[in-house]
Point group: C2
Chain length 323, copies 2
């Protein structure tokens, strides 16, 4: 994660410099200021093969339909292909027993995967900006995930076995810079559509917690949160690089418990994290790593459950992932 650039009205987006402009990209466009600015900035920068993708969450009745029409017209004006998906998030919530946040996220990912297959394009551009990033960091901090983590610039996710790459070039850009960019060019957007994620909690972080933190501290909390997460990512990256995982494996590729025990607590945690990632385990959080660390203690249980139905087992001083 790179540090936020505090730009005026001209967004500074390092990703643009290195990107291949004549290959296809899916662009997630809600119709809000962020994603409308993203689309125009990409077009200005010479990206030629964009596919506009819009998922109607059907959470705001007629306004949702209007957002979708707005996005379709915009795509048509630029001669870009446009995919409009529709999902009844509330129905999905009931059906699957998921929270609104989870149901909406899964619905978006399924939609992106469909668009990705249809257009043979694994890359999807998202317009998350510094404020979104700060809210994510704060939320991860408050719910106690390991350390201070935000969204990644680039992240590969698997949706029904389809790998798609989420790309977020705007994480270092302030929302105000995007809005100013649009205003200078008299480009219109749909105001409410920018609350892409129908999450009350995120809105309260944005509208209540962060403004109070700004007021009390007299500082820019968004910048402070993004910087601190950058520091954390830097440290975690160093640690990750300095671990020699193969030296902790036996010839069968299992983790060698006596070697692992000789490592410091931080290195043990990092080794387990990398071992689980290599084993295809998704969503590794603090609790899972704490449980995995517990396996190093012979006195304690020799097996823990992993997300996705697998298990991590200890036997004869070795750890491995079993079905």
């Amino acid at each position: 994660m790179r540090h936020v650039e505090f730009v005026g009205s001209e967004p500074d987006i390092p990703w643009l410099a290195g990107a291949v402009r004549d290959q296809p990209y899916l662009a997630a466009v809600s119709g809000g200021a962020d994603s409308v600015a993203m689309l125009h900035i990409l077009l200005d920068a010479g990206f030629t093969q964009l596919v506009v993708c819009h998922l109607d969450h059907r959470l705001r009745g007629r306004a949702s339909t209007e957002d979708a029409r707005f996005v379709m017209r915009m795509a048509a004006r630029f001669g870009l292909p446009c995919e409009i998906g529709r999902v009844d998030v509330k129905a999905v919530m009931k059906e699957r027993g998921e929270s609104m946040e989870t149901a909406a996220r899964h619905a978006r990912h399924r939609f992106f995967a469909e668009c990705s297959r249809k257009h043979q394009c694994p890359r999807i551009l998202l317009a998350h900006h510094a404020e979104d990033q700060a809210e994510t960091i704060l939320w991860n901090l408050l719910r106690g995930s390991h350390g201070l983590k935000g969204m990644s610039d680039e992240q590969v996710i698997f949706v029904q076995n389809t790998p798609i790459t989420l790309i977020r070039p705007f994480l270092g850009v302030r929302r105000a810079a995007l809005v100013a960019w649009l205003q200078e060019r008299e480009i219109r957007w749909r105001e409410d559509a920018s609350n892409r994620e129908p999450v009350a909690l995120r809105n309260r972080l944005r509208n209540e917690v962060i403004p109070l933190m700004n007021e009390v501290s007299g500082r820019d909390s968004v910048a402070a949160l993004v910087r601190a997460a950058g520091d954390f990512a830097e440290l975690a990256g160093e640690l990750s690089q300095s671990l020699d995982l193969p030296s902790l494996l036996d010839p069968a590729g299992r983790l060698h418990v006596p070697s692992l025990r000789k490592c410091s607590a931080g290195m043990q945690r990092e080794a387990l994290r990398q071992f689980l990632i290599a084993g295809g385990v998704a969503s590794i959080d603090r609790r899972l790593l704490d449980q995995a660390l517990g396996l190093l203690d012979h006195q304690r249980s020799a097996v823990i459950n992993l997300p996705g139905g697998k298990r991590l087992r200890r036997r004869e001083g070795r750890l491995w992932i079993a079905d």
Copy 2:
């Protein structure tokens, strides 16, 4: 920094187990619940040579004087020596042009140093608890110091060339546990005296920001902040251990710029941090490290100012601290 233990009414204080009980300690006692509980817990645990130290900040008129009397009576009841200091913090603020927080902190440190000299005791016990720690972490985060840092369990500071060791055995203990401990034993304390530091900002973090974060997240923000800072400290500790500073020095003990340039950004920062600490530079923050990193660029200025009037210089591919 160790992780918070979530105790019920019986505070769990690992420091007590390892401490030598028959050597002298200064104990900073404001008269508030935290420090009154600390004093009683220490006495219960068999600490025999305690010196009660109380600084009257003279910020609350008669109530301040009452706090001092309360502490004197308590010390007398246990037959402990008691030092009462008085400082007019508001006058110091004006005289030195310091903020109230800074003026009060410096006044406390000068008072501790006096007590330390008088009683030939370099150790002072402070009753900071998990809530104090969470507020410190949040404040450091918001003002943009590097990473997520709280107070140390043990910290050596120099006051007018006198080294004193601040010891905070209660950083892992919730305030509620201390209050419950006192209530069970029907031990009295002075309610307002517990706001040891006359800092509006800290009170707003305590009374407004943290409760709002608790409400919005539905989680225990104090615990989350303390845990995250613990994770950060763990990573930073790993990084610090894995750096081989001597390998980056020339025979004269100066930092070798070409070797430093080959390191990753995180390692460069850590090397500069350790080099500055070894050179006796106090209070190294993010901004200073960023400036020091700038010295690795031949195109840029070859000297930066350090706190305390010294400088860090670059010449012929070497960095060193000069007067």
